[in-house]
Symmetry: C2
Subunit: 493 residues, 2 copies
């Protein structure tokens, strides 16, 4: 066919496309959701990389495949993937599947727009503002600013950049060479994104001063004070303090009110990494854990963790209503942010970020919130706390289980000590041998597919399990199974 003939007809078969989507959706519902949430099915059908590569026949070829083969491929992808919605998946800080959030995500994908201008995302520009405002309200801020970012790490890195700009706006043009050596402060328990951020922003990981924590993993404000003075004596300029609400491993909450005092005294930007713990603000019973968060300059909060919106949904929030975020990140591209549009161009918010195209992350949270109301979300948060309480109490009753510490949040950290090691706490290789238990149990549960939970070493503590329940589909029976299964898998070690 000549070019012109070809161009007279669409090169996409709409009817076949819709049929494919319909069929694939049913496979997804059946294989992913129905089976995924069924405790009699595996959490993951584990294969070693080599074998999985073979099964999946991943290589890309010159010609396309039949509709049947493609649907089969959808089935396989689901089959060999981890079911994070499974009631026995406790491996990450996210789990479960909320049908409204997922619906919001599916609509987002179908609409496939970018969040930069009102003209291209009218609904989502307005919705993002409403959702961010609601999050700020829970923090205790009436005004403020913010934006959704591709993950909490990037939210934290934005905070560092905005704090730097706030101190030294000339850095944007001239780079770090034009400003004194900067010093950032965070506890040794902080998320690694603070280190990654310091490296990325050209500040350097050596300029992150690590503040000591108490035995629960909380930052010691007196040590923060000391470190700030130390930095000053080394002729660095303290510009950024990161406090964590809900540390990744222990779930510790830094004492914000006292930290805010130190920051105020030294006029340093206070950022709160509440990526994990922020959602506790929804609970009237537990929000006291974050007392003082309203004094922060900025906050990172990931609804994609505890609130189950699905990856990614991370808010970077600012107390300041000034144009700081915009000024810090803008490039004023005239091809996108024209200044002669017919509508109010203050709704074009895309220049507040370092991104250009930006996924819509608000709809899933908004729809889930509309479905459950603030009170419904609160119940979920309270339920997660109750589960952790229940498990901690059970652990105390069971021989061989040992809490690393009383959980303050929903990170349940514990060792399983197999019979062969019980009563041997005094022996020199105890810690070494205990450290081998969690990995061995993990291997067995993965190969069996019965559940998933993470473990890690921590300071000089040997490997322990960190279990987290955020999924409201989980019941007490699943938690009893969890402990029984660890015992079953580990009793001969």
């Amino acid at each position: 066919m000549a070019d012109n003939d070809v161009l007279s007809h669409p090169a996409l078969d709409k009817v076949a496309g819709e049929e494919f989507l319909q069929d694939a959706f049913q496979i997804m519902m059946e294989e992913g959701i129905r089976k995924g949430m069924d405790v009699s099915e595996k959490v993951c059908d584990w294969k070693e990389p080599e074998e999985l590569h073979q099964i999946l026949d991943l290589d890309l070829k010159d010609s396309g495949e039949s509709r049947e083969r493609l649907l089969e491929r959808c089935r396989e992808v689901i089959r060999y993937s981890v079911k994070t919605c499974h009631p026995r998946f406790f491996n990450q800080l996210f789990s479960g599947l909320d049908p409204h959030a997922l619906t919001g995500q599916l609509i987002t994908d179908m609409l496939n727009t970018s969040q930069y201008t009102y003209e291209i995302a009218p609904v989502f520009v307005l919705m993002e503002e409403v959702v961010l405002k609601q999050l700020r309200k829970l923090i205790g801020w009436e005004g403020g600013d913010g934006i959704f970012c591709p993950g909490g790490s990037i939210s934290n890195i934005y905070a560092m950049n905005v704090a730097r700009y706030h101190c030294f706006p000339e850095c944007k043009q001239k780079g770090n060479w034009a400003v004194p050596r900067l010093a950032a402060f965070t506890s040794v328990e902080c998320h690694y994104s603070i280190q990654k951020g310091a490296a990325f922003l050209g500040i350097g990981t050596d300029n992150v001063y690590l503040v000591a924590v108490d035995e629960k993993g909380k930052m010691i404000p007196a040590d923060l004070e000391k470190q700030i003075k130390q930095a000053k004596s080394e002729r660095a300029v303290p510009f950024f303090v990161n406090a964590t609400c809900g540390t990744t491993v222990l779930g510790a909450f830094d004492p914000l009110a006292e930290i805010a005092e130190v920051c105020a005294r030294h006029k340093v930007w206070l950022h709160v990494d509440a990526a994990w713990g922020g959602s506790a603000l929804l609970s009237r019973k537990h929000r006291h854990l974050l007392d003082g968060i309203n004094r922060a300059d900025s906050v990172a909060w990931n609804p994609h963790k505890m609130l189950m919106t699905g990856l990614q949904c991370s808010a970077f929030l600012l107390q300041h209503s000034s144009d700081l975020l915009q000024k810090c990140h803008c490039a004023k591209a005239t091809y996108l942010f024209q200044t002669d549009k017919f509508y109010d161009m203050s709704y074009d918010r895309g220049d507040k970020t370092i991104q250009c195209g930006r996924k819509v992350d608000c709809l899933k949270l908004w729809l889930m919130w509309k479905a459950n109301g603030t009170r419904g979300l609160e119940q979920r948060v309270d339920r997660a706390f109750a589960f952790t309480r229940y498990l901690a109490d059970e652990i105390k009753k069971r021989e061989g289980f040992q809490l690393v510490q009383e959980p303050e949040f929903i990170n349940l950290c514990f060792w399983f000590v197999p019979p062969s090691l019980r009563g041997k706490e005094g022996s020199t290789d105890y810690s070494h041998r205990l450290g081998k238990v969690a990995p061995a149990i993990k291997e067995r549960m993965m190969k069996k597919g019965s559940m998933m939970v993470s473990y890690q070493p921590h300071g000089n503590r040997a490997n322990f399990f960190r279990q987290v329940v955020t999924n409201p589909a989980v019941t007490k029976a699943d938690l009893d199974f969890f402990l029984d299964e660890i015992e079953r898998l580990g009793k001969d070690l």
Copy 2:
């Protein structure tokens, strides 16, 4: 109920959840896809921000809403959003909807996992490697490295950071203060993410040297040479050259082979921003536009633009097979990247990025590729070129339409000169008056909902339209409509 009773039952109604998903999916198919792709429907039902806010009743409340109301909300969100799959949507560098890519995206969302470790994303860890390898093969690299990033901007910023690390690895620990002032080079036509990146990385926008372009918008290698020498004479260290394949506005391709020569001579990292133009590599007919790309050190390529995978899908690719990316970005968090796992831990690739949680971006591209084959994707690329050719020829035949330049790629840049301005090219306010035409036509098309196309000023050129067709559902009739409609909307201006 006492806590323990509550915990005995799931707090999520699985059946109701599935039903909601089913109903919402049908709404999405009907309102979003079927109507969205129907030319007799509006591209967007335009409302001013205030009015839309009222219609949508966005505020979040204490209690949840009924299933019916929520489904109605899904309908409304879709109704007032822009249909980027509509055959008359020409506003961004992305458009159209591929059913296989969308399926891949939906499955990704349902599975809701994060790309960091093999244990949590076995299928996607392997799949990402295969897809990235295929992209590298098209560039002409046998080995190499890479990762999917949240957008081309971040891919470009990664390139700058890796280039910096390559020159001065100590910068990661010590910050920019420990290294000499760095100088980056890019053409004046480059994407604004290079500026944003320089600011973010603490390098500073003043240290981005802007290289002159020829009349087609291509970087002039001799000027690059000159700027590098200039920077050196100013005691800065040239560390990064960005060449663009497919500039955002004009669609220009920088002459890579010559630029590579300059870079080799000065031992400077060559990054190619092929976010937009990279997909031309799929076409045997048009890939010559990127001749020399195999000499780049790194490449950014966004399948979410021309290839219609849906936002986001952006590959950052490296020629180097060394561990550079890992070394540059790693933080070695032991809670995630344990070193005593039972499987080959080299499959845990998450420490190559500055993110922690990372969305899976490979499945949609992989499934679409499996469905169409490399040849099918090539046909789409060729079709996009053919459309641009067709439109450029039509424009030459029509009175009042004027090309800004002959399109080399698929950016069709043109003015519409209304009858009142024709023959007035000599008058002093011609340019000023012409600059008001595109915004006025844009306003009219938005309010009518008939189509969407972007415009911008450019250098000292008055506002012109930039039209792009990537959607294979578009036909010649849509393009004829496009030109007719501009005439209809603009003839009285």
